[in-house]
Symmetry: C2
Subunit: 602 residues, 2 copies
């Protein structure tokens, strides 16, 4: 029987299927955990997926009951009712994953005073009558007791809702406002109000619903960045955006659509209405920041790689199409440079690096790794292209940190000992896993200092590209295939770790500091949290400092974003980072290239 | 042969046609002057019309050459190629009228100092390079010399264009800004910049392109208010808007689409680019104002008829979809009450009534007539429902003031002596014509003081509704039909003139003033300009004052709007009107009803 290759996104697994396997069956046989409570008979409607490309069997009545015509037109199907008829690409939305992808949405939140930009005040008005013909808005201005600047008081979208709300709420309500600036929205009396903090990574996104009175984060959610469909890294997305206005806009719209689904989920979790979301903080790297705001990115893609704007931005949420209160604003902290963005500023805030007088270093490892060195209140940052290997990309058996991904590997007693995400049978290797594998290969002498396999390598088999090892034999794997590690995988890790180490060295050299002087070495980000320090140090990615100087602080960018929601002072601090910060451009730094090549070996 | 009735909009003429008459022929035979330079053989593409309802002959290749698929789908046709197959409704766009409809787009403009809110400044920047990596926007902020408030300097849509413009314009340009508020847009060095003033009437619209450096109005254009398709008067449009959000939005979108076509025509006339339009002032009555801003109108349609907002509004032109500079704002002067709107404030400004210490009265006659009485710096206004009779509606042979409309009628030497717009053969009667006819009928004893025809009426023929007179016999008319004046026409004029007179009397009574004390009696608006004072006084619409006390000032609302474009001080004055103004609600005024009934007779 003809077989087809079906790519399941966003987890990045390719699966072999045929005309007689439903997509649900194909996914499950490959170890991909799509939800299907009913066992795949089309009743539970859990296994929603979206067909992005390829031919599939006809739409069934069960699917017509599940989806709108619009959704069907967009490719939405039930995996259990859909059979492939060609190669294709499938998107699994987060809600259809039985075990949610491990998204790093936690992070260290500094204890800051709850003093957001947003305030609230309850009021009661008398209704109009034949002897009191004042207009609705003037009635509020004169009788609510709220001080408003003339002309600046209310944005049109808020005003549009006011007359009807007052009549529905019997001329009582709670006004949400930014002092001296304007009114965000009107809610029923004593309504709680919230902000949403968003961290948009190149690959993953996280959103947090924060109660602006208590300062507590009441719900959180992760998702994949939908821009992945248009390019794995920011450089290819910039190239896509540069194809034209439509493409540029598409990258924004996709982000906003996903964000709106996340917001909808967050408000559903807490049981509030969308217009109780009255403020937004969004962080991301400079390219993501620009694409989110639909700012031009052409100049980010060519030397000298300058941002369109560095300073903090505030604009109406409606400007970008985010769902919330009609007058809600979005705050974007400043960018530092073309490849050091607002997410890094948020991370510095969460790590308290902007205040700290000690010599500290903080990095956020991703496709690009941004690093800041702090010494006596002065900051210097750089960005290095560490590539997507730590997210499982460009690795033969690589996958993201979803159930079944090998996240830990040790070699002792003559064989490999692995553990997987959610303790599922292994189906591939995620970033922390491949880092471990390389460190253990090196430590056990199975690769040499150039990264080549030695005769000592266990289960080394011939391969056109220089040999591979069988990390997990087919019999032990979750999908009946050998899980392989290739020479090329090791090369990818060498490139990645060399970039990071050379970045650290460049900052130390420019600042005249020795590695040993670093008293805090802070590692943020999802991969940075799960990586094993010993492995990272063993392969030379980090300098060999005392382990207690390292902190793995999780999604610090998300934590910083939450902090800027609940503390207007934190926004002031974020903006002050710009004046304390020097940026070190590595692409034109001659010593960086030498240092990079040096760091490549083990 | 079967005949069909085809309604031609916006001129409001019904024409009888058959399958063998092209719409061009049918219109021309009825005296409607559609352009067709080629004589109707499908070459000149002048006779563009739009089929709004009904069945018509198939689309011809000549039409496929003329229109896009989108336009064809919207009903666009060439009148010379289109044959009716049922009753139907046709829209004639202004550009297809061989003699433009007489739109009152002139007006008295007060001599005000040119000092707009908008300023401009030329600048030159140095481009980024490997040793100067500043972001584009920070480069401008630091090097342009323009003082900007932190955070408030630039709206996102402006920022979006900045990076590309700088590279295209070689890092030189002209910045357009509102001091202390924000940047409107960027243009090439030394570009001229303009504002557009718009007067939106219930029936007609006028737009003016004003050079903001010289203060000169460089182009103007008129159009029909497209909302007419959804209701002849504001009450029916409010009812339509209240059907739902879609309907509400439709009324806004139709306005904006028409405005954008007008703006496109204006910039074309002067040969500038749309982004050289950097400011807007829009005036209209309160309902039109609310519909334009998509503010709620439900409360305008039910007692006690309060506006959503009175005070002046400023919002981004992009908020409503107007085409211009990316950061352009729209200014709407304040409303006075539910039925006295921002257009009346603009008119008062143009008539200088807000400053004047003498006892003056100013009115703008339309479907609603708004009247303000000024005495010793204090203002009092009211609104009266004068109906659409003066615009030719509800009049048997009524039509708007397009070529062939009788605009002047005198009765002497035993017969009628008429003149028509553009001296075309008569095909109907417009507002000033019917006013004359009624005054002359009264003066010559052909109607009595109750409005009934007397035996003296010339060419009186029987009619189920109480007799009609033949004003112009078929042999002398432009379309081969008798032009009739009915008892009901006279009743419509009685109702209209009574409403206006009773409004004047109510203001006088409330202010304790006698009519004779009015030293200036100002009549604004299109109909108000063309009406014959003697006729209006003869039928009792206006008090019988010395003729030199009357001024007919044309489209004063449009003039006031232009004034607010070129003078920020005029905006301050417009806003100050609110505090000087009392509003007299006539619907709950018991003496008004008596006075209205009194004024009904002659």
């Amino acid at each position: 029987m003809t077989t087809f290759e079906i790519d399941f996104e966003p987890i990045g697994k390719r699966v072999v299927a045929n005309r007689e396997m439903s997509l649900l069956t194909a996914a499950q046989e490959a170890g991909i955990a799509i939800t299907a409570v009913c066992g795949g008979v089309g009743i539970c409607q859990d296994c929603k997926i979206r067909c992005l490309s390829g031919q599939f069997s006809d739409i069934q009545n069960k699917e017509r009951d599940t989806f709108s015509a619009q959704e069907l037109a967009e490719g939405w199907r039930l995996a259990c009712q859909t059979y492939p008829q060609s190669n294709g690409k499938i998107e699994i939305p987060p809600e259809s994953m039985s075990t949610a992808q491990r998204l790093q949405i936690e992070g260290l939140i500094r204890d800051v005073a709850v003093a957001p930009e947003i305030k609230a005040s309850d009021f009661t008005l008398s209704p109009p009558n034949l002897t009191d013909l004042r207009a609705d808005w003037e009635r509020f201005v004169e009788d609510s007791g709220l001080k408003l600047d003339e002309g600046q008081g209310i944005a049109l979208p808020v005003l549009r809702q006011f007359s009807e709300k007052m009549r529905q709420q019997n001329w009582k309500g709670r006004v949400i406002f930014r002092e001296g600036v304007g009114i965000i929205g009107f809610l029923p009396v004593e309504s709680a109000y919230f902000g949403v903090a968003v961290d948009i990574g190149t690959t993953k996104m996280a959103a947090f619903l924060v109660n602006l009175e208590s300062g507590h984060t009441e719900a959180k959610i992760g998702a994949m960045n939908p821009q992945i469909a248009y390019g794995e890294d920011v450089v290819s997305r910039i190239a896509y955006a540069n194809q034209g206005d439509t493409q540029h806009k598409t990258l924004q719209i996709k982000l906003v659509e996903t964000l709106n689904r996340m917001i909808s989920d967050l408000v559903g979790q807490v049981g509030i209405k969308p217009d109780q979301v009255v403020d937004f903080v969004v962080v991301g790297n400079t390219a993501i920041h620009h694409l989110f705001a639909r700012l031009p990115v052409r100049q980010l893609g060519q030397a000298p790689y300058v941002p369109a704007v560095r300073r903090a931005l505030r604009f109406s949420a409606q400007e970008v199409g985010l769902v919330g209160a009609p007058g809600a604003w979005v705050y974007l902290p400043p960018n530092i440079a073309g490849y050091v963005g607002a997410d890094h500023v948020a991370m510095l805030l969460a790590a308290d690096l902007n205040h700290n007088q000690s010599t500290s270093l903080a990095m956020d490892i991703g496709t690009n790794t941004e690093i800041t060195l702090s010494k006596e209140g002065h900051l210097m940052s750089c960005s290095c292209a560490s590539g997507p290997a730590f997210e499982g990309a460009h690795i033969h058996a690589g996958m993201r940190a979803v159930p079944g991904a090998i996240e830990r590997a040790q070699f002792y007693d003559g064989d490999w000992h692995i553990s997987t995400v959610a303790d599922q049978p292994p189906i591939g290797i995620c970033g922390s896993g491949i880092l471990d594998v390389v460190a253990e290969l090196l430590d056990s002498g199975q690769i040499d200092s150039t990264g080549r396999f030695t005769d000592a390598a266990l289960r080394l088999v011939d391969h056109p590209k220089g040999g591979v090892i069988i990390l997990v034999p087919a019999a032990l794997s979750g999908n009946g295939n050998d899980i392989l590690v290739t020479r090329s995988d090791i090369r990818e890790i060498q490139l990645a770790k060399a970039a990071i180490r050379a970045g650290v060295e460049a900052l130390l050299r420019e600042s005249g500091i020795e590695a040993e002087e670093i008293s805090r070495f802070i590692i943020a980000g999802a991969f940075g949290t799960y990586l094993h320090l010993d492995s990272a140090i063993k392969i030379g990615m980090f300098p060999n400092l005392a382990r207690e100087r390292f902190s793995q602080i999780g999604n610090a960018a998300g934590a910083g974003a939450q902090q800027m929601l609940i503390s207007s002072q934190s926004r002031v601090e974020a903006e002050a980072v710009l004046s304390k910060m020097d940026y070190l451009e590595l692409t034109t730094n001659p010593e960086f290239s030498d240092s990079y090549i040096d760091a490549m070996g083990f």
